[in-house]
Symmetry: C2
Subunit: 639 residues, 2 copies
């Protein structure tokens, strides 16, 4: 075994040898696993060999050193190449590469995930690594203020994803000269030629139009590659991201498959693998590390193009949590903005992003208080979530907000965020038919179902300002994907400032020894439940009212007690489609707890709403106080 | 009232008058509604006045005439302008405009929906109208083969959405010279300046790089606008979409608000509205129609860049439904491809699209049989669903397929498809942990929850080839959004060819008079349930087994009968996260039907999977036969 620990002195001859090793190991690992993408790895092997030996500044023994560069495989299916790199730098063994890749219980998964300490974000859903990299680069330039670079290997197929262009748009807007996208243009997708094939000039034109500096190269000429990386790195102090467009050959190095459309995502059978390895000069076990980063202190704060200047009347941010009087009308979205400012004042790691609706979500308050920690993502919800993911990978507590309906745009990114084990705080405003006149395109009616189904997620839906503030604070401490749904309209405060709102809890707002029925709401429907309880008094019906502010996890103890105490009569009202939301959460919890003797009336938005006032639409949907009271009356008539 | 019915002879003086009317009516309607976007309407009023009087070929009395041009407001929030246009052509009355806009129960909703006969697709979630328009233009050029044009008004804020660039990429790839995007570059978004402001050259550069012909204009110079539209229309026979970049002023025509960032999405108070109307020369009631389309026959078939040439061995498509032997192993994704070919042979309106994975989803079979009716969307799932939406708007029966996991990328488009009342057939392959080695990024584990929560959706999940074929046929007849989940692996056929599989049905595969427990599965877990029933025989436990192939609507009758017959003991196993999928569907149905005395054990994927074999992962997740049998044993131990 040849071991070289170098800073910048690995000769291109050695690099060539290493490139062959990366190809051979990509073939061997995928053949041994019986699946994987050797040809998509081979096209980029030269690029990676040059990068890791001579340019990537990385302390492989200390992957969490803040000054390390970042390497993101946006083309996550080239995992054999990435893992072969890990072998080549000596952090993954031959044994693990050959017996761990794509195997059950092992960490070398089919597509990279941060279960590996050298991986920032999970990839494999195409078009996400570059947007995530924008988040990492934002952190590097404006928050960490360290000279690390973010190198992102992209496939050419994924350049058809709009999210790639959202990423370049933001990268140029934010002058992310620390971001280098390396496009591996091997011409071939899964089932044939890509849209643009080898038209690298077209890619360059697009990248340039989106504000990047571009370098077109032969992706198999080591010297040319080396020069391109030198040039990319030399522009760190500049104001543009770099896009290197590398023309490559899929399956490069094995003449039987080079440039063939028939070998996507297929391991070579053992006999072919043997021929390929022979053609590539046999198995090698070079261990070579490239340069380590210099340990430097953070640089000076840089201005970034924040789009809002503080108003003259903007109050100085306070570390005291905002408080609201019981009965005082406040919109939960407003309380979100208020709480976020306090969070920001208490913790410099808190950052915020929004999708160009910050004056609706009230993220604007944070923008005005902490412009340097706010990143406007404009109308690009995929990039909004991806940037938060990248910032989270750098340890920031990122809150991302937009209309709740528009988080549907980013569902794939949220799903991948969970696989990335990213701590993401998402806040969606203007939920449900309550928003009124704008109509169904702006009404989130699927968000609770969507967010509950995310692995390990937390789903919160406060009904007043006080609980919103407490839950925003809780989100900052909550790992994984947490989601808060806020409401457009202003409703009376229900709680005093000192009340605790643990995640997984619920509040019993009305209760007595003779409760006949339980009314469960969250957000706007909690207020309708309270009004319904008032209406029911006239019928001599006493109702328990529960604020189910934590939709996931849900307070099964409170739900069971209510079922037991109220003869199993439960009405749930939610401003959401009938499937997968609050009603499902209640039903699922009670059934899972073995509760059997209950009758659940679920009121939800089952039709397609139009425009109207919030009150008209709540009534139309059958989720207002009158309908809740009716449902309660029906339940109490039967035994 | 002045009424002009013209073909092409409306003078620009009259157009100017009409433009003023459109502004005035945008102001009046939004002020009267108390909400809406007058300033975003005013910036585009000149563009629309020229378009509808002199260029849009449209028979307003016959909106469904196939030769009509199409007008799509991608910036759906400019609905006051669209509805003012409808008044100006005489199809919406003054009364409706003033008293119907944004009101409950009325059709002039906050954002346009196809409840109006002149609207093709719902808009309001930005960045969707242009992608939808690509679908309409594909239909026009390659299927309808009619010389209609698709005019799409885009806002500049929405140009930050990646979906816009997916759309232009596909528009140029498919040479959609019948598509004209009109960019209303008014510089201002909701909360301030857009990313690029008035840098119309940057937009032009981007659009050109994405393959469009571009025309930069002053969006308030009627003569210049007119010339641009003439030029756009003159290129119908060409091979590029046209993008007109119009520099405009938000609020144009009312000096108090022109170019102000403070007037987004706000109606003017009555006194301001009065001043604005006065400045614009007062209320008008012109009714002017532009040219009608010539009634022509479809032109000759045009080749489009299908990416697969039929193999020499491709069989001629048959109108006979494919059949599979009971016990014969076939993947449901393969049966999907087989069935789609038959559908295509039986109905020339059937078209297919895929996201560059047609050799995995088996849409490839259709591609080879009917290349002229297949549209490759490459790795751009948003555009995949949007194109299907546009094709559906033109009456085509569009099936769109990709990996089930990647439909999460298009959730906002699916949600909007429901608002569009589009008939969309979505088919997602490679669902769940069953896929094995590729790992979690490729595993759909949220898709059933996501699709169930869509308004009016149908969710199907067949377990064998025969049922897949029957359900693909059913999807072609099913209105609204229908979704089929297919499986990667091959499993034994369960049904004979003549079996019926109605949407909303279920199949009882094992049953007897002494059944002690019910096992419910769908797709891969049905096969595990059958194996579990076999295992339980050794314990003397007889299990009923139900194939719940229709997840939404679900067969509540079969479920209730099973609950009644098996002592309320039910095990549901699903290859999906625990929330919102099959288990929730079963629980929701039983509870809604008033079933009370049942105990439901739900087995689902609650952890984060890694790689492995399908069998290893089904076991790890606790959804294989052994775990199902264990759960059944536990249930039968208790009463």
């Amino acid at each position: 075994m040849t071991t070289t620990n170098s800073t910048n002195d690995v000769s291109l001859d050695v690099v060539a040898d290493l490139a062959a090793q990366l190809r051979v190991d990509s073939i061997r690992s995928s053949t041994s696993a019986g699946s994987g993408h050797p040809t998509s790895s081979m096209s980029a092997a030269d690029l990676l060999a040059v990068l890791v030996t001579r340019h990537l500044r990385y302390d492989w023994d200390e992957p969490h050193v803040p000054v390390n560069d970042h390497l993101i495989f946006s083309k996550g299916h080239a995992s054999p190449l990435l893992y072969s790199v890990f072998k080549a730098v000596g952090v993954v063994s031959e044994e693990e590469l050959m017996n761990g890749y794509r195997r059950f219980g092992q960490r070398l998964e089919g597509h990279p995930t941060p279960i590996l300490p050298w991986v920032d974000v999970a990839t494999g859903s195409l078009g996400q690594g570059l947007p995530d990299g924008v988040g990492v680069a934002l952190a590097g330039k404006y928050l960490d203020r360290l000279p690390y670079r973010v190198w992102v290997l992209c496939g050419d197929s994924e350049l058809a994803e709009g999210s790639i262009w959202e990423a370049l748009d933001k990268a140029s807007y934010y002058k992310l000269s620390n971001l280098v996208a390396i496009l591996d243009v091997n011409r071939l997708g899964q089932r044939g030629a890509t849209d643009l094939g080898w038209d690298t000039a077209a890619y360059a034109e697009r990248a340039m139009a989106f504000g990047a500096r571009t370098i077109e190269i032969d992706g198999h000429d080591l010297s040319v590659i080396d020069h391109a990386f030198v040039e990319a790195a030399s522009h760190l102090a500049g104001d543009k991201p770099t896009v290197i467009i590398a023309k490559t050959i899929k399956g490069k190095g094995f003449s039987e498959v080079e440039n063939s459309p028939d070998w996507h995502g297929k391991p070579f059978p053992p006999d072919m693998a043997d021929r390929a390895i022979a053609e590539l000069g046999g198995v090698r076990n070079l261990v070579i590390r490239g340069p380590r980063p210099e340990l430097v202190e953070p640089g000076p704060a840089l201005e970034h193009p924040t789009t809002l200047a503080p108003h003259s009347g903007t109050p100085a941010p306070s570390k005291d949590w905002p408080t609201y009087k019981a009965g005082e009308k406040v919109a939960t979205r407003k309380a979100y903005g208020d709480a976020l400012v306090t969070l920001g004042a208490r913790d410099p790691k808190v950052v915020a992003l929004d999708g160009e609706v910050s004056n609706s979500t009230f993220a604007e308050e944070f923008t005005l208080a902490f412009p340097e920690r706010y990143f406007e993502m404009f109308i690009a919800e995929q990039q909004l979530v991806a940037a938060a993911t990248g910032l989270a990978a750098r340890g920031y507590t990122a809150f991302a907000s937009t209309f709740a309906a528009f988080f549907t745009r980013a569902y794939d990114f949220i799903r991948m965020g969970a696989i990335s084990t990213a701590n993401l705080r998402l806040v969606g405003s203007h939920a449900g038919v309550e928003i009124g006149a704008d109509g169904p395109s702006q009404m989130a009616l699927e968000d609770l179902a969507m967010m509950r189904a995310v692995h390990g997620s937390t789903v919160l839906y406060p009904a007043d300002g006080t609980s919103t503030v407490a839950l925003v604070a809780a989100m900052a401490e909550t790992p994984g994907i947490s989601y808060m749904r806020t409401t457009r309209g202003s409703y009376p405060g229900l709680y005093a400032g000192e009340e605790a709102f643990p995640v997984g809890g619920a509040k019993v707002l009305r209760s007595g020894p003779d409760d006949q029925v339980t009314l469960i709401g969250a957000g706007v429907t909690l207020h309708e439940c309270l009004r319904a309880a008032d209406l029911l008094v006239a019928d001599g019906i006493t109702a328990r009212v529960i604020d189910c502010y934590s939709v996931k996890p849900i307070d099964v103890g409170t739900l069971r007690a209510a079922a037991d105490d109220t003869g199993g009569r439960i009405v749930v009202a939610e401003d959401h489609h009938p499937e997968g939301g609050l009603g499902s959460a209640v039903a699922d919890a009670l059934l899972a707890a073995g509760q059997r003797d209950f009758r659940l009336t679920r009121l939800a938005v089952s039709g397609m709403p139009g425009s109207g006032t919030g009150a008209e639409l709540l009534a139309w949907a059958g989720i207002d106080a009158a309908h809740i009271a009716d449902a309660a009356r029906q339940l109490t008539k039967t035994r």
